[in-house]
Symmetry: D2
Subunit: 153 residues, 4 copies
């Protein structure tokens, strides 16, 4: 599969991998993420997690726009199991820790945590399926990408 064009494939400079299989993305909490209860609004943790999955993919050399234009495939979220443990607040410096829990032929189960230093604020299992975008039907993860992801585990 073709790599994404240079600008689009440049990974977030702030992201990192501290152990094999663990991808870290820093997130700063801004006013837009918070609500009148003084904490990060519950739906916004899912935005942080999606950014992390996108950057994880980008770091491996894949862009979602390129996947669509090339193979005609896309990743869509099928399910989310999330637990809210402690609240994040304005100005917090968070880290989204992303791991692949299970890699299947046509899906990836991610385990994603949102941490503030050594505190676990939020944890989720997110099942993402590969689909043929035009047919809107399940499709296998492209073979080269699947092999590459397997080697990362």
């Amino acid at each position: 599969m073709q790599p994404a064009p240079p600008a689009l494939s440049r990974p977030c400079s702030a992201s990192s991998t501290d152990q094999p299989g663990r991808f870290l993305l820093p997130i700063r909490v801004y006013y837009e993420d918070t609500d009148a209860a003084g904490v990060v609004y519950y739906a916004n943790y899912l935005r942080f997690c999606e950014r992390a999955r996108t950057e994880w993919l980008r770091r491996l050399g894949y862009g979602q726009q390129a996947m669509l234009a090339g193979e005609g495939t896309a990743f869509v979220v099928r399910s989310v199991q999330a637990d809210y443990l402690l609240p994040a607040r304005l100005d917090d410096a968070l880290t989204v820790v992303t791991r692949v829990d299970t890699l299947r032929r046509a899906s990836i189960l991610f385990h994603q945590d949102v941490r503030r230093d050594d505190e676990l604020l939020f944890t989720a299992r997110v099942l993402v399926a590969c689909i043929d975008w035009h047919k809107q039907k399940p499709a296998a993860i492209p073979a080269a990408m699947h092999a590459h992801l397997e080697s990362q585990a």
Copy 2:
């Protein structure tokens, strides 16, 4: 417990109850809810569900601002289990169907579906806990409110 002030307690005129225990809130999909994939962005279903829980509470005579000012209690989301079945799109007229799955002393487990006519697009179980806002500790749902909610089942 004191009811919320008039303006704040006026329930959404478009909401309704079609069966005992089932609360319906219509939702129109606008550009702000969609993403470049042409569908409602996955985190936004949680916003629709929160609006429905708030309107369900308001219809029963309770406002979250009043709970905080009065009893000093608040409802916070503890967990979400969600399945994404079919995509919603721009201009769709959706309905959030909300039911109480389990009412406990200090928590409510909601079952919420997002439907488009007779199609089920999204379904979730959302566990909401009552807390003493100032102490940030679990608290019992105020007795009068708990009795009222029990009578609704």
Copy 3:
């Protein structure tokens, strides 16, 4: 131009017109609209205004999806001049008042206010241009629509 399909063209039942040329859309403020300062986050007034423009168009019989599929035209925002006068808060029942300030061959200048009862919270002039979506170039507002809009003034 063809009207939008029935479901998509059903206007928001809560919207209304209290004077010729004035379109009203009620908006309830939810947690998702607020921030840690306890008020509606400044960018969110633009979301309220976009919903109102969409419902104004829908009430006149036009859906943006249908415009794109039919004429291949779309409306895009070219400029916003906005003043923030008073803050809106959680649970507020607001009204977006929308008027057409100026209708031109290829653009519409809207005047939109966000009110809470008789208080003016926010006011904006929003210039929206009609474009040929595929060419991404200016296009005249479709003649039948333009004539219809002129008759509304």
Copy 4:
């Protein structure tokens, strides 16, 4: 005025100043920022700009939470004049360029551009006023901060 606590004052590592008075913040466009038209939703440019103003302030040593806790002052947006020139898209690597246009006793007029390489996509003048948060009345920008900001011009 007291500096913000360490973690909260750590500026975004990706931000920079390329010329005196010009503050740059990189922004990556994610799915959450886009809409079904395939571009960044118009209100979201205001979110990018607010992040840039916050990081500009943080780089100078000031946190908004600390201002509130210390001096009891806050910055609120009074007006926005924005022009939308070219659309940003999913995966774009943008830069928000922030300059102080005018520094007054109780307000700051920012000039903020959103660029993609050498293309200007969006430009805005944002007037931000300092207020006494508890009295919700205008207040002078704290003297030490004002002097510091003047020296940056």
